[in-house]
């Protein structure tokens, strides 16, 4: 008997009002696998992450974490079962220091819960783990700086740090390199690879360099459906993927044309 996939989606659907964003997505990621989810804008990549992490409830279908159904659970319940996520827009504890941010993310996993009878300073394991994560994300020099005073790249690193600190086995990273320069991105990919050793990693990415550098397998999401899920080479040569991407490129071009045409028309009227 093979062990259950680390995370599995079975015909998951999600509608906002009458608009169906996720239309029967199916995906099974094995433990330890690194998967990049790609797809054109509006394909529902972030929504998929929001469903898996419990931010939204799905309309129908099943989501399983290590074989256990997690749809309908609250984010903190899913997190306690071993799934952690990062956000596209940095989502930090702005008035706490780097170290405190990380330590907050460590506390539950070490079983401190809502304790008010213990001093943080005495929690050796939590402090050691937090120091270790601060080192891993290479912010030890900025240890005592408030999160709000960090540079953009540092905030992104802290975002990853908070995500991995609790030791979750399944990590979802939502566009970890968004808005970074080329050299920062390269360093960051290395960092992600380092801190997610031995974990199941799902990441949403637009940067194809990152995707091919990081992922064992690539899932292509188009209009709320996973149309391909395979190793990078196979995905690249997949005709449906090419069509979808080409299609979206064409659509973008058409939209741009329409816009210029509209602008010209407006100019003419004036």
């Amino acid at each position: 008997m093979t062990s259950a996939p680390a995370i599995e989606l079975r015909d998951v659907r999600k509608s906002f009002g009458k608009t169906e964003i996720i239309r029967g997505a199916t995906l099974a990621v094995a433990a330890g696998e690194r998967v990049a989810i790609i797809g054109p804008n509006g394909a529902g990549k972030s929504t998929l992450f929001n469903l898996m992490s419990g931010r939204f409830g799905s309309t129908s279908g099943d989501i399983l974490l290590n074989g256990t159904k997690i749809d309908g659970l609250k984010p903190f319940e899913i997190n306690r079962m071993g799934l952690a996520r990062s956000f596209q827009v940095s989502n930090l504890f702005t008035r706490l220091s780097v170290f405190e941010n990380i330590r907050c993310a460590v506390l539950w996993s070490l079983g401190y819960k809502y304790a008010f009878w213990k001093f943080l300073a005495d929690l050796r394991d939590a402090n050691d783990r937090a120091e270790q994560v601060v080192d891993m994300i290479k912010l030890h020099k900025r240890r005592d700086v408030l999160a709000m005073n960090l540079t953009y790249a540092e905030q992104r690193a802290l975002e990853i740090g908070i995500t991995i600190a609790g030791g979750a086995s399944v990590i979802l990273l939502d566009e970890p390199t968004a808005g970074m320069s080329k050299s920062e991105t390269a360093r960051f990919v290395n960092l992600i690879r380092e801190v997610t050793v031995g974990k199941t990693l799902l990441t949403v990415e637009h940067d194809m360099g990152v995707v091919f550098g990081l992922a064992d397998r690539i899932a292509v999401l188009v209009y709320g459906e996973v149309i391909a899920f395979d190793v990078p080479e196979a995905v690249r040569s997949n005709p449906r993927v090419q069509e979808a991407y080409l299609g979206s490129v064409l659509a973008d071009a058409q939209a741009a044309d329409a816009q210029t045409a509209g602008a010209q028309a407006a100019e003419a009227v004036r």
Binding site: S53, K74, P75, F76, N79, R80, A84, R85, F87, N91, L92, F93, T94, R95, L96, E100, R103, C104, A105, L107, W108, S109, Y112, K113, Y114, A115, F116, W117, K118, F119, L120, A121, L123, R124, N127, D128, E131, Q132, D135, M136, K138, H140, K141, I162, A165, G166
Partner: protein
């Protein structure tokens, strides 16, 4: 740079903290010796009570980002339970030292916080504030509906001198009660400070900063808020219990929105950002409520003005002003700013004198006209019906407003350059490190 084993960090014995706490205890100890009059003693007692209340309130406001509009409910209910407990002790139905009565009040404050907070803390932000307002009104209405417990208009009175004096302490003389209050205030301050350094206390900060993210690191934000609310209710209750012992009478007014408003206002004035801010706020609260209200009838108007100015120009309250200047002084750059501070102080006093004279004259004309048109103001005699007084006051006000604005601009410029210098200094030190 990866650590594999445990991380050892040099932890020096924190001398500064011991000094600060020592001074705090010493101040409480010697205050009645420095200010021994009965008025001063009453005020000091009230300050101790207010310190507990404002700090407990700030557990929610400053540390949890929860703005409660009805927090006097918990201190007030604590007061009622304290006075009833005291009366039971007097009647001999209960055997309990008077010094323990505040703990009973704290217990009931906690019980009601657990009961009512279960509803309020389900929400955060504006809905939270609205629900606390609603709950506050609810309890206020109840206080009028159940005269048996709340004592109706007259309230419930008691007598704190009960039973045999223990080591000569009967709590009859105010100074004995003051020391009881001081002990409670010190212990509660220490306990609330300790709370900020526990896992729950830190997660409360996290919930304040970013409740959404907290949900994704395994914590239920509702529980974090709820537990903090209960803790806050406990300390509010203690403060209420002490206040019942202090006044020996409790009226429905203690659960009113007015009381809640005063706690909110002065906590904010003292500063919600730093732990010690509410202590300053509490001292100011008693000074304003007892002294300022004696000096002038227009005290509420002055309070409103001060509050408005603080919110506009120093939203971090007095404590953050202190901390900002400590930072500047730690870089040795405070001296050049002193001139500006003196000028600001002088022109500010001028503004206050001018505006104050006019306000006092208006109040005098409206309320004290039977006493004749003349009134004393800051040692000068003003004639409220004479144009000269009005012109004089207006002149002082306008000139000092003009000068104040000029110095303010100069100060803002200087402050900016000082901050830039400090930033550069920090960068330099970082580069060296």
């Amino acid at each position: 740079m990866q650590h594999t084993g445990p991380v050892y960090r040099f932890k020096p014995y924190n001398v500064g903290r011991w000094v600060v706490w020592g001074v705090y205890a010493l101040l409480m100890l010697v205050a009645p010796m420095l200010w021994g009059s009965s008025l001063a003693l009453t005020m000091l007692s009230q300050m101790g009570i207010a310190v507990i209340a404002c700090l407990a309130f700030n557990m929610l406001l400053g540390q949890g980002g929860m703005l409660s509009f009805g927090h006097a409910v918990y201190s007030g209910l604590g007061s009622f339970f304290a006075i009833h407990t005291l009366n039971m002790v007097t009647k001999g139905q209960l055997s309990l030292p008077v010094s323990m009565v505040p703990l009973v009040a704290g217990f009931f404050g906690m019980v009601f916080a657990a009961l009512l907070g279960f509803v309020t803390t389900r929400k955060a932000g504006t809905p939270f504030a609205m629900i606390t307002l609603g709950v506050g009104e609810l309890v206020w209405a109840m206080s009028l509906m159940f005269p048996g417990f709340f004592g109706g208009e007259g309230g419930i009175s008691g007598n704190r001198v009960v039973g045999q004096p223990f080591l000569g302490i009967s709590f009859g003389p105010q100074v004995q009660l003051y020391y009881l209050i001081a002990i409670y205030a010190f212990v509660c301050t220490a306990a609330m400070f300790a709370f900020t350094r526990t896992p729950l206390g830190r997660m409360l900060n996290a919930v304040r900063d970013n409740p959404e993210r907290v949900e994704f690191i395994g914590y239920n934000t509702q529980y974090v808020r709820y537990f903090a609310f209960i803790a806050s209710g406990f300390f509010m209750g203690i403060s209420g219990g002490l206040s019942a012992l202090n006044f020996e009478i409790v009226t429905a007014e203690v659960v009113s929105a007015l009381r809640s408003g005063a706690i909110l206002l002065f906590t904010f004035l003292g500063g919600a950002v730093f732990f010690f801010g509410p202590i300053i706020g509490a001292v100011l609260m008693v000074l304003a409520l007892v002294l300022l209200s004696e000096i002038t009838q227009a005290w509420l108007l002055y309070m409103g003005l001060v509050f408005t100015f603080m919110v506009m120009y120093a939203p971090g309250g007095i404590s953050s002003l202190i901390m900002m200047n400590l930072r500047v002084s730690s870089f040795g750059k405070l001296r050049p700013l002193l001139g500006c501070y003196l000028a600001l102080l002088g022109t500010g006093a001028g503004m206050l004198a001018g505006a104050g004279a006019m306000i006092e004259m208006v109040y005098h004309l409206q309320l004290n006209v039977a006493l004749g048109p003349k009134l004393k103001f800051m040692g000068a005699t003003l004639d409220a019906t004479d144009l000269d007084s009005w012109f004089g006051a207006a002149f002082v006000l306008l000139v000092s407003v003009g000068l104040f604005e000029l110095t303010r601009r100069e100060f803002v410029r200087q402050w900016g350059t000082t901050q830039e210098e400090i930033e550069r200094e920090i960068k330099k030190r970082e580069a060296l490190a």
